[in-house]
């Protein structure tokens, strides 16, 4: 019978000892050594079984043809993902108040500091109301001196 410390039953302790032995056995195999650790007193029957499984259960490799073909398919899928995430036009308000769909790459060239409203085309319907509201606010003449000052600063930053 295995002595069990408080809070653990004998199954847990046996499992822990087996796990410890197995860990060091697999490490020994990784080093190219056949023998398991001598210092851990695991069940001799289990020690033999572990040694046998470590020896007999080898890793199988896919064929080169399959590996390369799947690599090609993944590369094609990655390319499609790159296109869909990078090149989807976003709803953008230009400094003159015009609202356009621009690819992210064109934003910097189209304007100094873009005001980005929408995300992707799919969310355009949600963003249209916001875009229209901001466009209206942009075109409306400032009502107070503070608003005029804020706009002047914004214009200076854009230019």
């Amino acid at each position: 019978m295995t002595w069990a410390p408080a809070g653990r039953d004998s199954h847990d302790v046996d499992a822990l000892v087996t796990d410890r032995y197995l860990e060091t056995l697999l490490a020994a195999h990784a080093r190219g050594a056949d023998a398991g650790p001598a210092r851990i007193e695991a069940d001799p029957i289990l020690r033999g079984t572990m040694a046998r499984l470590a020896r007999d259960l080898t890793r199988f490799h896919p064929s080169f043809r399959f590996e390369e073909a799947l690599a090609d398919r993944l590369a094609a899928a990655a390319e499609r993902m790159r296109i869909t995430t990078d090149d989807v036009p976003s709803l953008t308000i230009l400094p003159d108040g015009a609202v356009r769909f621009l690819p992210p790459g064109d934003l910097r060239s189209a304007m100094g500091r873009p005001l980005w409203i929408g995300g992707a085309l799919t969310s355009a319907a949600l963003s249209l109301a916001g875009a229209a509201y901001l466009a209206w606010r942009f075109r409306r003449p400032p009502s107070s001196a503070m608003a005029r000052a804020v706009r002047a600063v914004a214009r200076a930053r854009l230019s």
Binding site: H11, D12, D14, A15, L16, T18, D19, R20, L22, E23, T24, L26, A27, A28, A30, R31, P37, A38, R39, I40, I45, L46, G48, T49, M50, R52, L53, A54, R55, D56, L57, T58, R59, F60, H61, P62, F66, E67, L70, A71, R73, L74, A75, A77, A78, E79, M81, R82
Partner: protein, 208 residues
């Protein structure tokens, strides 16, 4: 302050558990999340492991290839949602890319197994085929040993079989297996311990 997460080591001394940082794929994952084309590095690193796991579970070359393809396609599609959570504070629930990938593989394999159950085939023949593949030297005795071991693993119930494959073939730590199977470290240790007892009985019987 963030601390590195360590579990296993590549070149341990005898009696000392191996420790490898759980977040060892962080750089590759970051690169692939920024640019999906960089996923190739992760694919090359893990394709043999995923394929081997699928092969042990399905015992069919084409089914294993199919499960491998589904696994990596799903991983690529979901990579942006993957979050590396491997810190010591996270403990046994620490997430690594490999754990996440094998969770996907486990689901892909389970789906194929369900399909195969509806279309049963001779598992014995599959075991013989694997043994023949492994038998590079042409040693009959060695081949018999491999066949017996494969049969013993085959007879284990679901999670015990998976735990043994992941432990012995993929050389995963208890923590990683716990993450893949959705169990505690202790539960995985007990699973493997009981599986080994069953296998020991089986192999003992097969010798008589």
């Amino acid at each position: 302050m963030a601390r590195p997460a360590f579990r296993r080591m590549d070149r341990p001394e005898e009696g000392v558990p191996r420790q490898v940082p759980l977040n060892r794929d962080r750089a590759l994952v970051d690169a692939a999340q920024a640019d999906p084309a960089q996923f190739d590095a992760l694919y090359r690193k893990y394709v043999a492991q995923v394929y081997s796991y699928a092969y042990y579970e399905l015992r069919d070359h084409h089914e294993a290839e199919d499960a491998t393809e589904r696994t990596f396609m799903a991983a690529l599609a979901g990579l942006r949602r993957f979050e590396e959570r491997a810190t010591p504070i996270d403990g046994r629930g620490a997430s690594t890319f490999r754990v996440w990938l094998f969770q996907i593989a486990r689901n892909a394999v389970a789906e194929r197994r369900r399909r195969l159950r509806r279309r049963p085939e001779s598992r014995l023949e599959a075991a013989e085929t694997i043994a023949a593949t492994a038998d590079v030297e042409g040693e009959a005795a060695r081949r018999d040993d491999v066949v017996a071991a494969m049969r013993a693993i085959d007879r284990l119930p679901g999670d015990r079989r998976r735990a043994v494959i992941l432990r012995f073939v993929e050389e995963m730590s208890t923590t990683e297996i716990a993450g893949i199977l959705g169990r505690s470290d202790g539960a995985v240790r007990v699973l493997i311990h009981r599986a080994l007892r069953s296998v020991a009985r089986d192999l003992g019987d097969s010798r008589r």
